[in-house]
């Protein structure tokens, strides 16, 4: 980084002119806090930003982009920073300016009747829920948990534990978005009227189709500064009822309205068929086929507790033989609804050869899942156990799980060891009552070893290569390396690249992400 050179100073001074001294930093210690995350390989986290800025409003973001265009420096943005790989500085770029949206943390509006809220980029899901639940509404929670940015999650994968009913990737209504040029782009009803947030479509072709695919554009087409986001019916209490002190705190939702069951099925196919029929019946608030370690690492409170539980007879047998599905029933309309849904559920469990766990395990799962699927805070317990490797990451139809899961397991088993033996397990959870499904395999390896670091990179290469060869895709990687997949999939990288080139001719908006424009030199 040419810190201290004239251009650096020029940019710094202009950023201070825009934002004020308090909200601009180029100190190496401050910058050091923005380069890595838990999942990404160290080799991809070598770059450092050169400026960290804290805009307070949309106009500030506009000014930053205009400056970036004038002096040609890159700009990227985070939500709360869980997936820093998507926005950290690339080491081959200089004068990288990083937007931390912490000052843009307002809930501007909550429309109770029409079930939406208008929020800035640093409103967390927990904050949004705290307001929404008082109105009988809620916003779903992803694996990033409640401390993550609601806006960022909605322009990223937008996969919630409760997506069984609420779906994936379609919770956005009106969107306000600063383009790389610094212009403000408003979509949906907002395109017609700056204060009309309620609807997200069109007018005409829907611009959300270039805002997001499986993930969003990761800031490579600008920065989303405000959204109207859908809220959904919450039949629970206005405030999460708690008792005790963390990490032993309990939050028990009323059982007349919330129940969780965790039947185990004898095969993946049986669990798929079960889920399909759950979808046919259109019951439940969430349905998730989890691997054993998802259950165990989520409800155990300590590292030691996890390993003791993991090695016990029940879970050892589960790993090898069982396929457990977590089902949450919500009595939205009434207690009678819950009773009805439980009746249907038991019927389907029996039909597909499912078995409920022993009472003590069932209770642990229920007490934990009831509340954590709605107000999750510590999904990251899985990252405390070792170096986590995600593979699979496919979203397609429910029955496609059998195909992709089989391939994913082969890949995972080839790398075991050094991956810890997880059993023939898949994790997948379904949306729109079983219509489409996200699958992933989480595996752990020992931390801090060269071997486990190497595994992540190799697995990714293998997956991408396999997909290209056979015509399948890893949903997450498609977004990270579209230019690698693109030539084999309808040249989609060129389509995106052309849009990018027109909207961001100087390639200042989070360069190298989605499509590395250097790979498209001369093609767009």
């Amino acid at each position: 980084m040419p810190r201290g050179d004239k251009k650096h100073q020029l940019i710094f001074d202009e950023l201070v002119n825009i934002l004020g001294e308090r909200y601009v930093e180029d100190d190496p210690a401050v910058i050091e806090a923005y380069y890595r995350d838990a999942i990404s390989p160290a080799g991809l986290c070598e770059g450092r930003h050169e400026f960290i800025v804290l805009p307070g409003c949309t106009e500030d973001v506009q000014a930053i982009f205009r400056l970036a265009n004038r002096y040609e420096f890159p700009v990227s943005v985070t939500g709360t920073g869980l997936f820093q790989l998507s926005c950290n500085a690339h080491k081959e770029y200089q004068y990288w300016c990083f937007i931390d949206p912490k000052r843009m943390d307002k809930i501007e509006k909550l429309d109770d009747d029409n079930m939406y809220a208008v929020i800035g980029p640093y409103v967390t899901i927990g904050q949004l829920q705290s307001v929404a639940m008082k109105k009988g509404l809620f916003h779903g929670v992803p694996g990033a948990s409640c401390q993550a940015s609601a806006l960022a999650g909605n322009v990223f994968q937008n996969i919630h534990w409760t997506s069984w009913r609420t779906g994936v990737g379609r919770n956005l209504l009106g969107v306000e978005w600063v383009l790389p040029s610094g212009e403000v782009f408003r979509t949906g009803s907002l395109a017609m009227d700056n204060n009309n947030w309620f609807w997200g479509e069109g007018p005409g072709p829907d611009a959300r189709g270039i805002l997001r695919g499986h993930t969003g554009h990761l800031g490579s087409l600008g920065v989303v500064t405000k959204i109207a986001v859908k809220l959904h019916t919450w039949p629970g209490p206005a405030v999460i009822p708690t008792k005790g002190v963390q990490p032993e705190k309990k939050a028990l939702l009323p059982q007349e309205t919330f129940r969780t069951f965790a039947p185990t099925f004898p095969s993946i196919e049986a669990s798929v068929d079960f889920i399909a029929e759950m979808g046919k019946e259109e019951i439940a608030g969430y349905v998730m086929k989890f691997g054993p370690w998802d259950f165990v690492c989520w409800f155990t409170s300590s590292f030691e507790e996890f390993w003791n539980e993991w090695d016990n007879e029940y879970w050892t047998n589960q790993k090898a033989n069982g396929h457990m599905v977590a089902v949450g029933l919500w009595g939205v309309a009434s207690e009678e609804q819950l009773k009805y849904e439980e009746k249907v559920l038991m019927h389907l469990i029996k039909k597909y050869g499912g078995v409920l766990p022993p009472a003590d395990i069932a209770k642990r799962i229920e007490d934990h899942f009831n509340v954590s699927t709605v107000r999750d805070t510590h999904r990251h317990r899985f990252t405390r156990l070792g170096k986590v490797h995600l593979s699979g990451n496919n979203t397609d139809s429910l029955y496609d799980v059998i195909r992709s899961g089989a391939e994913d397991r082969i890949l995972k088993d080839e790398f075991t060891p050094p991956l810890h033996p997880m059993g023939p397990q898949l994790k997948f959870w379904s949306y729109d009552f079983g219509r489409t499904t996200w699958t992933e395999i989480d595996s752990i390896a020992e931390r801090y070893t060269e071997e486990s670091d190497r595994v992540g990179g190799e697995m990714m290469q293998r997956e991408v290569g396999h997909g290209i060869q056979h015509g399948s895709v890893n949903s997450l990687y498609t977004c990270l390396v579209t230019h690698v997949y693109g030539p084999h999939f309808c040249n989609v990288h060129q389509l995106f690249g052309k849009i990018k080139h027109t909207l961001d001719p100087k390639n200042i908006a989070n360069p190298t992400r989605i499509v590395d424009m250097r790979a498209l030199e001369g093609q767009v």
Partner: protein, 417 residues
Amino acid sequence: MEKTERKYFPRADFLHKYYYDIESILKNCSRCSNCKWIDQWEIKEPRFSKVCPSVAYSYFDAYSSQGRHDIILAWLEGRMSPDMSENKMLEVLYTCDTCGGCDASCKRSRDTEVIRMFLDVRAKLVEAGDVLPEHMPLLESLRNEDNTMFALKKDRGNWASGLKVKDLTEEKAAVVFHAGCHISFNEELWDVGQKAVKLLQKLGVDVGIFGKNETCCGTKAWDMGYRGEYKKYQENNADAWSNAGVKTVITACSDCYYAFKRLYPEQFEVYHIVEYIDKLIKEGKIQFTKTIPMTVTYHDPCHLGRRSNVYEPGKAIMGVYDPPRDILKSIPGIKLIEMYRIKEYAWCCGAGGGLREAYPERSAWTAGERITEAVSTGAEAIVSACPWCENNFNEAVRANGAPIKVLDILQLVDQAL
């Protein structure tokens, strides 16, 4: 399937590394941002949902626990040096008031002692001579006058003038009341110390004090990384108490409580006075005869609360949360209304860890935030059990003109007896 074969991990020494190796702890951070927020289950109002004062004030991630993890890792790996002419590393590390809020939040998903690790790092920095110039006046005050209040040692006993109580430099007693630096030198809070002693005497406790011969407990020195200074006070106090025949130490200051309970060797029985009073209420030995019609809210001092926990992975982050609340609930007429952030997820007052001394503006802002929260409950008074908290709140109330009183719990107890 066979029982999991641990051929690769976790190895027997893994736990040791995981819990005690600083580098392992640093690399274990998953950037989840839990450290910036209170327990997510407890968020009731967006305005009062943050737990870390330093990142709430500064915004930049560096000032959060997560950011400090990154910076410390860079330092350990030789990529950054604590040279204030080159970077803000020391500023970042010392703008933490060591409240432990991040530590409590992190324990939801991590078996880790974040605050312990930070304090170890501070000690290493001090040992290496990488100190914050802003702390020097405090160190001078400690070294020269044995107190953290920039006051003269000879004046330390003035708070007790007129009190008829044993002088433990000359007499012996089973119980010592340790006033602490703040009560000793802050006239506004002298009555807290006086009321404490009188109450103990009224209850028939064989209590004495060291008056002007009392010295600091050493907590601030510990939290700032000056372990040598801390050690001096620890040894001095323990010796003095032993010589006076003391078996039990009672204090009304949460910093002192923390030192005596958690840092000092387990040689003496230690109480914060709220624990003692609560115990006696429950034994029927204290009865309140007067009514105080007042709505109050209670502030959990960090060192009395989560900082005083003994860490056991997966177990509750215990502190002295319930005794003060039980006391308030048993005073006729008092209505207790809780703030949004309490107990293990309480917002700090901003006075700890050397923050007040080195970064007074941040410290004042932190206290101001807490007062805003207290006012939002509709309470007439914010009550606490620590003079550092109460002093910071008093200053904030005066600076902001907030419509709320600041009280020590002893003041209410005394009034109700």
